[in-house]
């Protein structure tokens, strides 16, 4: 009833892992409980808040809506894999400098959604930015500075290329 354990091989933040997981285990639980990557947050488990957003093969996905076994052989990136050591990613840097972050609970998911957008579309319109983060609920800061920070980061990333 609880799902038979199966082997799972995946790459998380560039590091290969081999695990045994139950077939009904969610990706978010593997990340948080097995791999101790607690930067990925759990807000709702209904795929409604986006706090658990990670990348699977570069696409932003809510890790509460994916079974761990579905990521077999895939590349998963979490918030812990975004900065390069002490060097923040331009999106992170812009969010810090532009004052976009308040309580921070939605921030990791917000970064992951924004990064998936800018990796694919370096020059998004404001509507495209809004759309990219519309699955990420924030409760305190009003989205304005998040949207502006993503635009600032996009500009910086374009300039740097």
């Amino acid at each position: 009833m609880k799902g038979e354990p199966k082997k799972l091989a995946l790459t998380v933040n560039g590091k290969p892992y081999e695990l045994t997981v139950k077939s009904n285990t969610l990706l978010v639980d593997v990340l948080r409980k097995e791999l101790k990557l607690t930067g990925t947050k759990v807000g709702c488990l209904d795929s409604a808040c986006g706090a658990c957003t990670v990348h699977i093969d570069g696409k932003a996905v809510r890790s509460c809506s994916v079974l761990a076994l579905q990521t077999n052989g895939r590349q998963v990136t979490t918030i812990e894999g975004v900065a390069d050591g002490d060097q923040l990613h331009p999106i992170q840097e812009a969010m810090v400098e532009h004052g976009a972050i308040e309580c921070g609970f939605c921030t990791p998911g917000m970064v992951m959604s924004a990064k998936a957008l800018l990796d694919e579309n370096p020059s998004p319109t404001r509507e495209e930015v809004r759309e990219a983060i519309q699955g990420n609920l924030c409760a305190d800061e009003g989205y304005v500075k998040y949207i502006e920070a993503i635009e600032i980061a996009a500009e910086k990333m374009r300039g740097g290329q």
């Binding site: 409604a48 918030i79 004052g99 921070g104 921030t107 304005v144």
Partner: protein
């Protein structure tokens, strides 16, 4: 953006938040992220009835389940009851004799895994005798209605009757008397982080509690009493907090008591994490209120009198309802002059989850009713809505003077006129006023409102925030505070204040989050109190440390301490700045010159207790705030007249008088967020649908939240009034815009369509039917 204010080194300028890097990299640990060796998982057993007598609880089957380590029920707490104040202790950690709302906790389990704990809960057998319930205040007030608390006749939870001036006489003398009823919705707090906690007993006499609490000294006090331990033995260590808008994250919920009692029984750490369903269906929510407001004005639109009658749904337990009902009334005399004011408030117990404080606490309800009504009155009298607000707005008191309202609220700085003028100018009011714009099926309307909010909120008993500044021997500084940053940015501004006063950099200060074993006691993060009161504590602690260092410097320079100054990490003689040394050198001399000093600066706030007296809830007089912020807001809406769908456009401006913006960027996000998440959300989106105590939409799919796709790109303009009671002149930022947004949205909808939505939220269906009714009425007239 990028604006700087005042002639300071750090404050008033753009500064990165001290906790932003930890948050943006996922390193910041929240309660649910904590894991301890040997940790067990807990789960709460909940009642399937909204109102029922508990006849028997049998835990024997659950106890026998392999992996179960302990089961607790309400009886384990020995009759302990708790509440928001001594007089209102009406709640047990777990119900023992009666449940009063659906899914109220009756027991809890600790087991080796979440799955086992959940299974064990299913094995607990509870025998109930279901009772008839009351599910809104109008049912609750009926004669012979079932009683939620047998000792509370009439289901009355809170009742206030205030009368200032002569309302009846003023109505009789008024040119126009206008009466209307408004309604505010049942709303979630809306934070994304559900309650979570880990607790353990390092020995049988000490508790360690790490929970998602924005006011960590609430559990500190409550747990001390509950477990009969001295406060010195209760250690609350605060993780990062995923927002707290009042209620659940101030007070206790079942998981908090469960974690501590289960860990006592098992001598192992116990962790409980609520689901969002637990949160939305059982935790504290914003009060729904029915507000009947009657206002008299002169021919020129000058307010003469208001009579406000409020009926509120308090839910199952008292919680903070006495404060809510006070706040709903007290600031009716701001931001406009009101010489006569009468208030009757009735808050009833019902078999719904308890209501409590929420961002914009109290004032949001009455400001919505009053500012929508003012718009109606302006139209009736043919006065420009901006003009009527300016005519009634309180003047900024001259320096040294204080404005006193008829209910003895005191205002030393008031920028409301400037706020209204600024937003009017920003949206080009003179050109756009009274003009309807229709493009296809979309109608556009714009409106301007004004609001106030109390900051540095002071209640009876302990009010003081404190700070300890430890100057380390290498010149770095530890900042210890009992104040909590739940996202509003207080950690950053208190560090900035300390750095400014000490004359060092923000990066030189390392803030320690609350650990009640080491940090000084603090009331909590509520009522926009932290920046104002913890800010004063920061100033005092920094001055204390600085005084000690200046004495050493004076000795070195052979001058008096008052002749020395520290700025940008340079210590120098004021009259001859070339005689100087570095901050690090001064600290080293102080610490190392035999026998060596230990530089510790201490300070606590006094503003909250020493000013013009405290508020008296029963009489409705006095100050709940140390000072008061003022806000004006312009909102433009786009109404789809075919579907009733309303959204705010980017033509959205807030002007906010926070006295002095210590961190301008943070003031902007606070105003934008307060307006959208808790203001516009109330006006357009959020409402719990209830059926006999059951929350039908207890998830973020069916319960519509404000999202980025519809977020107005609100601009924020700063209005500076330098309040004499705030640190560097500061007052609150954010709760004001929670209050100005809902009436602005509703007035804008009217200006777009000619339809008044008096019961929030203006969801599409409601607007659709109102528009249809209006069209049919129009046809009938023809």
């Amino acid at each position: 953006m990028g604006e700087t204010f005042g002639n300071y080194s750090i404050i008033g300028k753009q500064m990165p938040r001290v906790d932003a890097k930890a948050k943006v990299t996922g390193q910041a640990k929240y309660a649910a992220d904590i894991e301890l060796p040997g940790m067990l998982w807990g789960q709460v057993k909940r009642s399937p009835y909204a109102h029922a007598r508990i006849l028997n609880i049998d835990t024997s089957k659950a106890e026998k389940l392999p992996g179960v380590k302990a089961v607790v029920t309400g009886k384990d707490f020995g009759g302990f009851k708790w509440g928001w104040s001594r007089e209102t202790r009406d709640e047990e950690p777990f119900a023992t004799t009666k449940v009063r709302y659906l899914y109220e906790g009756v027991a809890a389990v600790a087991a080796t895994s979440e799955e086992v704990a959940e299974e064990a809960c299913d094995l607990i057998e509870v025998e109930y005798e279901p009772l008839a319930g009351v599910f809104d205040p109008f049912e609750a007030m009926q004669e012979g209605a079932p009683l939620v608390h047998e000792d509370r006749p009439g289901n009355i939870c809170v009742e206030y009757h205030w009368n200032f001036g002569d309302v009846e006489k003023a109505f009789a003398e008024s040119y126009l008397v206008w009466e209307d009823t408004f309604q505010t919705p049942r709303m979630a707090k809306g934070y994304i982080e559900p309650p979570a906690v880990v607790a353990y007993w390092p020995d049988p006499h000490h508790i360690v509690y790490q929970g998602a609490k924005g006011s960590p000294y609430f559990p500190y006090r409550i747990l001390s009493r509950c477990f009969n331990l001295p406060l010195s033995n209760v250690r609350v260590i605060q993780p990062f907090i995923g927002s707290d808008f009042g209620g659940t994250k101030n007070d206790m919920v079942h998981c908090d008591f469960a974690a501590v009692m289960l860990s006592k029984k098992t001598a192992r750490p116990v962790k409980l994490v609520y689901t969002q369903f637990d949160e939305l269906s059982t935790c504290l929510r914003r009060h729904p209120m029915w507000l009947t407001i009657k206002t008299g004005v002169t021919k020129d639109g000058i307010l003469k009198a208001t009579y406000l009658k409020v009926v509120a749904d308090g839910g199952a337990y008292t919680r903070m309802s006495p404060l809510t009902m006070f706040l709903t009334g007290t600031c009716m005399t701001l931001p406009y002059e009101l010489p006569n004011f009468k208030y009757d408030a009735y808050n009833y117990f019902t078999n719904n989850p308890s209501s409590a404080a929420m961002r914009g606490h109290g004032l949001y309800h009455s400001r919505f009713a009053a500012d929508v009504q003012l718009e109606m009155i302006a139209e009736e009298l043919g006065i420009d809505p901006v003009e009527i607000r300016l005519r009634n707005a309180i003047e900024n008191p001259k320096p040294g003077k204080v404005y006193q309202t008829v209910n003895e609220v005191h205002v030393a700085s008031c920028g409301v006129k400037e706020c209204v003028e600024k937003v009017a100018q920003a949206v080009n009011w003179e050109k756009v006023k009274g003009k309807k714009r229709v493009e296809g099926s979309k109608a556009y309307g714009i409106a301007i409102t004004a609001a106030t909010y109390n900051s540095g909120t002071k209640l009876s008993a302990h009010n003081a925030c404190a700070a300890i500044i430890r100057v380390c021997e290498d010149g770095s500084v530890n900042y210890l505070t009992g104040a909590s940053d739940v996202g509003q940015g207080s950690d950053t501004v208190t560090c900035a204040i300390a750095a400014e006063v000490l004359g060092i950099g923000l990066e030189d200060i390392d803030l320690k989050r609350v650990d009640t074993a080491f940090t000084p006691v603090d009331p909590g993060s509520y009522g926009s109190r932290v920046t104002v009161l913890a800010g004063q504590a920061a100033i005092k602690a920094a001055l204390d440390a600085k005084r000690q260092l200046l004495e050493v410097a004076a000795q070195q320079f052979g001058v008096k301490p008052e002749e020395v100054e520290i700025k940008n990490k340079q210590v120098f003689v004021k009259s001859n700045p070339e005689r100087s040394m570095s901050w690090e050198r001064l600290v080293r001399i102080a610490c190392y010159e035999t026998p060596g000093k230990v530089i510790i600066g201490r300070g606590y706030s006094t503003q909250g207790i020493s000013l013009l007296g405290l508020a008296v809830f029963s009489r409705g007089v006095g100050d709940i705030g140390t000072n008061y912020s003022f806000t004006a807001q312009a909102v433009e809406v786009e109404v789809d007249v075919e579907t009733g769908l309303v959204k705010c456009t980017d033509n959205s401006v807030i002007a906010h008088d926070c006295g002095f913006p210590l961190n301008p960027q943070a003031v902007e996000t606070q105003c934008q967020g307060g307006s959208y998440h808790q203001g516009v959300a109330a006006a357009l989106y959020e409402e719990f649908k209830m059926d006999k105590g059951q929350t039908l939409n207890a998830n973020f799919i069916d319960y519509k939240r404000p999202r980025a796709c519809e977020a107005p790109m609100t601009r924020v303009e700063h209005v500076l009034t330098n309040d004499p009671y705030g640190p560097f002149g500061a007052k609150e930022a954010s709760e004001g815009s929670c209050c100005s947004a809902p009436p602005a949205v509703i007035n804008a909808i009217y200006n777009a369509t000619g339809v008044w939505i008096k019961d929030l939220p203006a969801q599409p269906e409601k607007v659709f039917w109102a528009l249809k009714k209006q069209r049919e009425k129009g046809k009938g007239k023809k």
